[in-house]
Amino acid sequence: MSAGATRVYVPADTSAVALGADRTARRLEALCDERGLAVTVVRTGSRGAFWLEPLLEVERDGQRIGYGPVQPEDLPGLLDAGLLSASEQAPGHLGPVEDLPFFRCQQRLTCARLGVVDPASVDSYREHGGLRALERALEMTPQALVDEVKTSGLRGRGGAAFPAGIKWQTVLDAPAADKTIVCNADEGDSGTYSDRMLMEGDPMALLEGMLIAGLATGARQGYIYLREEYPRARASLERAMTALWAAGCLGSNILGSGQCFDVALRIGAGAYICGEETALLESLEGRRGTVRPKPPVPAIAGLFGQPTLVHNVISLASVPAIISAGGEHYRGYGVERSRGTLPFQLAGNIERAGLVELPFGLTLRELLYEIGGGSRSGRPLRAVQVGGPLGAYLPESQWDTPLDYEAFAAIGAMLGHGGVVAFDDSVDMWEQARFAMAFCAAESCGKCTPCRIGSTRGVEIIDRLAAGADAEGDRHLLEDLCETMRDGSLCALGGMTPAPVLSALRHFPGDFQRPRGRPGQSESRHDTAPGPQIIPSTEAG
């Protein structure tokens, strides 16, 4: 970087790039070159205010002044108006980014560095508080580390919300020479993208969390099972791993301590079920991603039969914040048995979609309207699905439910991974119910009958409901089938698909009584096919 060059931060996050951030960054460099302006463009992750992307941040007097959204064609005018001196006159001026109401109302513990830090630089990571937790952890005993996690009250952020401390203790206590830390980075739920953002924008936080988990449980090998759909996260993780290796943080002598830990990155292959922890382990072992019956739990017999700590990205990335500030500090956020913060993700038909890290306890309505600004289409919101494709559809009467694990469980819903997908009044809830069943049929691993067969029969019944010949009987049959799937399935795919189906049926019955044409005619024949159909090239025309 040349002396006196102005630093401009431009996100390289998937969504920011989808909105034009790469073109904006390239054009900015080219224009500054033409005009002889000294500028250093730093590519970061995104802070998560996506309606402002591409969001440029100009560093001035230690503050970052935001401009957004900035498309390449806006740049000449912006530079004329004094962009590089952070002029208030430049169009799109937002002031200091951290003072924007969207960020002021948040409390970022896990995602504090997102959009701030240079994800490929260990120095930048250190500058923003990184590796402090690792240094502290190297001076603590494994039991003290596990106790800190227990104190924090952290629960698995992937969706199941199992107390993390109990898992850590189980792996620590398991007598075995080879233990493993597995990061579940198969974030497949629609409406969720916090794992992706974190891996792209602050990958070292995840790796530091895995390192600490290794020190705490006696594991020396880590795996990240990353979904194939996230190529930018893959590149970002690879760069971060290389940089941490070079800095002596990963490998056979962590920061000179004599302790060792290594991480391998594995890529999934487009199977939703591999987000289920035992299916993920099967896949890591090189097999079909079918679910294993539990017990034994992976903490006792996981990868290759060895004790394995399986955690989602956000769970592991929360560990450095817990260890550096202490479990008590983390526990100070949240309500009841939901402690700490959760990065919620606003998606679907919402005006201000983005990442919102908050302590548990806010209501869904506050999240949708005060933070999210209501629908993107301007029409009234009608249904909200929280927690991915296996989450219930919530009608307006349930939007005052506080966002905590138990309050959601009490209404038959789940927070899951914190994804919130909003639908306006144009949504057809019969179609959503049908999709939920069809998705289960397409993604079922086939191991257990209620899920494999039940989901296909479920689609058929929902189609018959639309035909309306015996609506009462079919409705009863669907409820019965859902009960069987819920109680009889091996894992959450078959077990929780009934939630979106039955919630749609119960809260939006009118949509199931509407006369329709041939059921499912708007959908392709692939909807109910279990798995992909591979058409030989000769037939593909």
């Binding site: 969504s15 629609s190 993208y193 594995r266 072992e285 392709s524 692939h526």
Partner: protein
């Protein structure tokens, strides 16, 4: 194909996958290596991997057909994936799917007659803050609508390379 060419293909495949023989759980990385290099998994893959990993052909076949990502026929020049998941449905994803199939005149898992585009469904690209989403190769596009999709597809069918 002559027997000699077939042998050569097998050797090429074996070279691609050999490094993964000693990797714990190396079958998936080996399949990825083949598809990354060739764009699909040729028929000979099953036999080569069965031999290298000391598995039955049925086991290898079972793994490669389980995962949606792996394909057993060559793709078109561009692999276009439309997101079918809920966030995209909430902002017009279904209409976009129907439109794409209509203008390309193919269904999912098919390739256009000019060999330019293979159309595939995908369940979530993690781009849900700016749905609907489309992926071409490793590029993700957000806030898609019919006009933008038409322009994108026209560009893909007109030129040989993906648009920037």
């Amino acid at each position: 194909m002559s027997e000699k060419e077939g042998d050569k293909d097998m050797q090429g495949l074996a070279q691609l996958t050999a490094p993964f023989r000693t990797v714990a759980g190396g079958l998936l990385p080996a399949l990825h290596a083949v598809q990354d290099a060739l764009g699909y998994l040729p028929e000979a893959t099953t036999g080569v991997l069965a031999e290298q990993f000391n598995l039955s052909r049925a086991e290898v076949h079972g793994v490669m057909t389980f995962y949606h990502h792996f394909r057993r026929s060559p793709p078109g020049r561009h692999r276009v994936q439309l997101c079918r998941a809920e966030s995209c449905q909430a902002v017009g994803g279904r209409a976009l799917e129907a439109h794409a199939k209509r203008v390309l005149d193919i269904d999912y898992h098919q390739t256009t007659a000019d060999g330019a585009v293979s159309l595939e469904p995908v369940y979530c690209l993690g781009n849900c803050a700016c749905s609907p989403s489309v992926r071409v190769g490793d590029e993700v596009y957000g806030m898609m609508n019919v006009a933008r999709l038409d322009a994108l597809l026209a560009e893909l069918r007109g030129g040989a390379e993906a648009v920037p």
